[in-house]
């Protein structure tokens, strides 16, 4: 999975492209470390081009949310596709995150 990180003063955005599954989860976790370190800011996950997520991917989002909650920041998820939205719904993630669709 491709992860591209951009930053402003108030927020940090990670654009996730491809599949967030078990084989990619460790690498994605490492690539998202800058977000973990800046968990006091608004952390934006741009999922416009994310095609798939499994529980391994959800766990990464959960860790990010915990960090943000502990440091006073928040996680915003942008543009999830219908299939991923369903996964969020069945696991309760829809209520855990602020989700914005363009």
């Amino acid at each position: 999975m491709e992860v591209t990180i951009t930053q402003t003063e108030q927020s940090m955005t990670a654009k996730l492209v491809g599949r967030l599954d078990t084989p990619s989860s460790q690498e994605v976790s490492q690539k998202l470390e800058p977000l973990m370190e800046n968990a006091d800011k608004e952390l934006i996950l741009d999922c416009t081009e994310m095609s798939y997520i499994s529980s391994s991917g959800l766990r990464i989002l959960l860790t990010l949310r915990k960090q943000a909650a502990a440091k006073g920041g928040k996680v915003v998820i942008l543009n999830i596709n219908d299939e991923i939205r369903q996964v969020f719904m069945m696991t309760g993630f829809l209520n855990l995150f602020e989700i914005k669709n363009a």
């Binding site: 391994s56 959800l58 369903q86 996964v87 696991t91």
Partner: protein
Amino acid sequence: MIEISNLRLVFPDGTDLFRGMNLSIQKGEVISIIGPSGSGKSTLLRCINALENPTQGQIFINGKDILDRKANKPAMRRKIGMVFQQFRMFHNLDVLGNVTIGLIRLLDMTPADAEKKAMEYLRMVGLSGKQHAMSSQLSGGEKQRVEIARCLAMEPEVILFDEPTSALDQMMETEVIRVIQDLAKQGMTMVIVTHALEFARSVSTRVLFMNDGVITEDGTPDQIFEHPKHTLTRLFIRDRMSLIWKVNNKDYDLYKINAEIEFYCKKHDFGKKYFTLELITEELLTHFLPFTGPINFRIFVDESKQLAVEVEQENYDQPIIDSPTADEISLMILQGLCRTLTETQEGNNRLISLVVGDPNE
């Protein structure tokens, strides 16, 4: 138009095929013959084309027995076109030459007339721009379409297809299937031996199931595919329409498994169901299955037309999904994706059955 009566073919090794078979093929029928390898399907086509010498019986083509020693076999064969699995193009001739050769040599047409007619049929199979290409410049699908054009140009009354797509990859298979579907729409009488069951189901007016040298079931595609009378037919169709794979240990290749799931869903037109199937597979492999032995996966459409997954963990007798250590998020995903989720003990093995729902929803 074709009447097969009391047909039997005994080979020197004792193989006894057809054992008194009777079969009637009417004009305009598109008949697919399906069944396990070695059941005699291709040999039956070869009998109809007088390429075999049956031990007993008669095969009437428009009232004339092609097996009769006095029959004018070459003349009768011209009424029957045959397309084989392997392409039989003449390598020293271009596409046009391959189609015209039979017209000039067997039907005594002038080269100009033969070319005119050949072009007509090359257009029909979508090869009108390739008339001067040599065999080496053509894909497998194009070669097979040349074969069909060559066959059509002889204006046969019936065409026999012997596994016409089995040597082709999926894209080329689609090209050839479209041509055969067009011929079916035009009312061409065809008998097709095939392993491509979706194709047989979509193109045929009638399907024959052959096993061990005899036709054990004969009916409409709906009767054969939806309500087969015999267990053997049902099992054959079920296995052929399923995606089956085995995982032996934790070094499995998830990319390869996902590619196969995606291919299966595309082939069966299951839309975006691959997402659900890939997710179920990944969650089971990474969070539930204990790998105590080989794991057998099967994706199929069950008797209620629901997309279903069966997973058998060999050598295990404890609950897998209901295990107290089951991962909570994974469990929510599995329960959310499946209409029903059951687990049973089958001898030494643990069987998990998941019903996903309508494959086209």
